[in-house]
Amino acid sequence: MSIAVSESSVKAQKRSIGAVLWDYLTTVDHLKIAHLYIFGGAFFFILGGIEALIIRIQLLVPENDFVTAGFYNEVITMHGTTMIFLAAMPILLGLMNAIMPLQIGARDVAFPFLNALGVWLFILGGLLLNLSWFFGGAPDAGWTAYAPLSTTSPGHGVDYYVMGLQLAGAGTLMSGINFLVTIINMRAPGMTYMRMPLFTWTTFITSILILFAFPALTVGLFLLQFDRMFGAAFFDVALGGNTIIWQHLFWIFGHPEVYILILPVFGAFSEIFSTFSKKRIFGYTSMIFATMLIAFLGFMVWAHHMFTVGMGPIANTIFSVATMAIAVPTGIKIFNWLATMWGGSVKLNSAMMWAIGFIPSFTIGGMTGIMVATVAADYQYHDTYFVIAHFHYTIVGGTVMGIFAGLTYWWPKIFGRVLNETLGQITFWTFFIGFHMTFFIQHFLGLMGMPRRYWVFLEDQGLDTGNLISSIGAFLMAVGVIVFIINAIYVWLKGEKAANDPWDGRTLEWTTASPPEHYNWKQTPLIRGLDCLWLEKTEGNGKMIPAHPLKDIHMPNGSILPFIMSVGFFIAGLGFIYQTDNKLWYIALFGGMAISLLAMLVRSVQDDLGHYITKEELKGEAE
């Protein structure tokens, strides 16, 4: 087996750059698409990180003029938008894409073509959004783009925001449906719902959230687009419009969105705690139940972002209490994780360190979450650095740490190398200390009278020290990220091939090669229980039992069409943005649409039946 793997990788190394590029442009393989998501997400993560550093340099000292006020607003807007839509979510989608099919014993996802379309829409949407930097300025109305500031913002910045997010959002919606169908229809024999690993479960529930949350954003963006580009009056108060509609639509999407960001990493952490404690997850059923409850409640609390809007005390308190209720299932999860480690054999390597660091960090984030949910207290917290601190504690302390943990844990499976442990520990400690330095002090800054999105703070307001500490912490975080990138490059160049199961794992993904062949398994495994690999290790011979004899494998064909479709929409997006300046841009608008529709037509007319890997080929590669 190992010989076969190294042979094929030698083959891979010999391929020209052009061939590799073409391979990725046309791929429908879930693992390669995961690579695209992770690389794309990492690129935007670095971009968003640079924007964060600009913010912290500007706020290093009072009344600083490192950047201008207008540019500062562009930076904060792009930092938020990039980190949420183009960094955190795509990397999570990448992890789901890579791992979820392996965990349930599928050869690919249900709709490989749509999967490819989703990733290209994300990449081109992200590029479209960032093009704004070079053509007259980025969006500057905050990542929440509250109307009428967003509808009246001059230039094309907010137009780019609308079109970029529309593309990326459509891609995400496709992925959500895709994962749902995959998990429902393509589980290996014996993989019942109650035997699915928790990461697959959280992928499943996250996908439901995506399915029901993103359409609200789609509509909101359409309304914004119509107002800005076609003279509609949704948010034009003079013509009877109502700006609060935007806030509702945005947060009906936006609040589930934060659970879309956190639930997958809850799943990843569950796997990590279990593996490195050598214990099965404590309270598996209640973990699933808690996840569902979080998702369900997550839809009914959006208006807690709007306590100061003036909705009245009845609505405010209903949403306030509903929000507090989310603490209950979250608490269940935290204590189940602690109980998983209790009595276990806890190994403190870098993947586990992220998970352990996550517990206090996220608990603080959850605590402050309850505090900001307390409506009358929120009149003080709202729109201040307290809120900034709170959501960075959940998104950085939860999602980003989860991404680091998940990447460290699954790196061998996704890229075929184990990350260097020493560099991993350095990354963790610099990032962890930097993170708390940056954000803990911000709780106090907020209450001391510093609203968020402030370009400058004035001298002699007692805010200097806090901001200075915060800025230093941000640089420590940057060091951590740089070390991680060095680590990734180092193991790519010098690292050894990873074994199939480097961590003594418990779940199905550790039974395939690292990285797996594109068909994942020669024979689909038969699942006999929860933690199926662990079960075979302790009660069987350590290998999965095949569910059927060796037979031909049917795999989908690659296609360039998803890329072409996405490019078409990208061009149409530019057409939408600039048709307000010059009617000639309608050519781009309709031209781009035509390209996409034509590609769709080709797709629906051609017979794409996939291809077979014959038994003989499989035998040739075997043993």
Partner: protein, 351 residues
């Protein structure tokens, strides 16, 4: 409820002292030293939730630390396989029930206080002020008195003051941390809130909703004066007649002429005028700040008049009048700085 509220209050006092000693921001700006009704009510909830959540955090940390010390994999234990525990009904029930109880403990006072703060049933019996948020300044219209001010809001101490707030452009948010929590100022509907200050003084107010490039410079002041001073201030403001008011110095007179020549009146009123395009300048000489955040010196005013864009990017005054040279700006500044209508000033409050 009274019993534990008392304990909370004692705790609050203690933590106050602690925070005060370590420095919790600038007085009359920070929300951590409440000096008004709304801020005090919010502070109660802040302390209650902090204490409860701090307790939860402590439990988590203690358990985590114990686990890490006790169950860490040591040398020679590489092959040790722990017992595979599925779960525990009792434990799981415990950590479901306890959070529910904690949530209820927090939900009750939250509900009571938020209904209390939103109760506007007695607004007719109190001072009502219309607040208009503009990019990037605040307009205050005293409904019954026919008085308008900008940036400086004078209110009497210990009295409820109702604010009816609406925006003329984008969404702003009215926040005076030491006196009260914030409320959004929307363009399509009037939001009402009340504030009540316990101590005289000049309180710092801020805009808390992103409203454009100069969002961070949209500061204002709430000047809390004694009831007598307030009445005197109202009387002085009401009785002021701009027609009769001629500047004493020759420079100021020239400034006044220039003020008229450059058509500043198109936007700025001196004296009562309910129509507002730009800030009302009636009592300009007594303003706490220039442009909301610069010290009220003549040099700063000259700089402002010559190039407002440099000081407050994106403001609507830029480009509305001919470029002024040093001499003209000096004269107008001289004129504006002597516009003092009353002896009730921010400085007098502090004495």
């Amino acid at each position: 409820m009274k019993g534990w509220m008392g304990k909370i209050k004692a705790l609050a006092l203690m933590s106050f002292m602690a925070v005060l000693l370590t420095g919790c921001g600038k007085e009359n700006l920070t929300a951590l030293v409440p000096k008004g009704y709304g801020a005090e009510e919010s502070m109660k909830l802040i302390i209650l939730t902090t204490v409860i959540m701090g307790g939860v955090f402590l439990v988590v940390i203690v358990v985590l630390a114990y686990v890490l010390i006790r169950f860490r994999r040591k040398k020679g234990q590489e092959n040790y396989i722990p017992k595979q525990v599925e779960g525990s009904k009792t434990l799981e029930t415990i950590w479901t029930i306890i959070p529910i109880i904690l949530v209820i403990i927090m939900a009750v006072p939250t509900t009571l206080i938020s209904f209390d703060l939103a109760d506007a049933s007695d607004s007719k019996d109190h001072i009502n002020i219309d607040v208009t948020g503009n990019q990037y300044w605040w307009h205050f219209n005293y409904q019954d008195e026919d008085i308008q001010t900008s940036q400086d809001l004078y209110i009497p101490v210990g009295e409820k003051v109702y604010l009816n707030m609406i925006s003329s452009d984008v969404i702003h948010s009215f926040w005076v941390p030491s006196i009260s929590g914030k409320m959004d100022v929307n363009p399509e509907n009037t939001n009402t809130m009340y504030i009540e200050a316990y101590e005289e003084g000049v309180y710092w107010g801020k805009c808390a909703e992103l409203c454009g490039p100069s969002h961070s410079l949209m500061d204002f002041k709430v000047i809390v004066v004694s009831k007598e001073e307030y009445e005197q201030w109202v009387a002085d403001m009401k009785n002021y007649d701009p027609e009769k008011d001629e500047p004493e110095s020759a420079v100021a007179k020239e400034g006044k002429d220039l003020f008229e020549e450059n058509n500043c009146m198109a936007c700025h009123a001196i004296g009562s005028s309910p129509v507002e395009v730009g800030p009302n300048l009636t009592n300009f000489g007594n303003r706490t700040k220039i442009a909301g955040f610069k010290e009220p010196t003549k040099e700063n005013l000259v700089d402002w008049l010559k190039d407002p864009e440099e000081i407050k990017p994106g403001n609507l005054m830029t480009g509305k009048y001919p470029q002024l040279n040093d001499d003209e700006a000096e004269k107008i500044a001289e004129y504006l700085m002597q516009l003092k209508v009353t002896d009730v000033t921010p400085e007098s409050v502090n004495n």
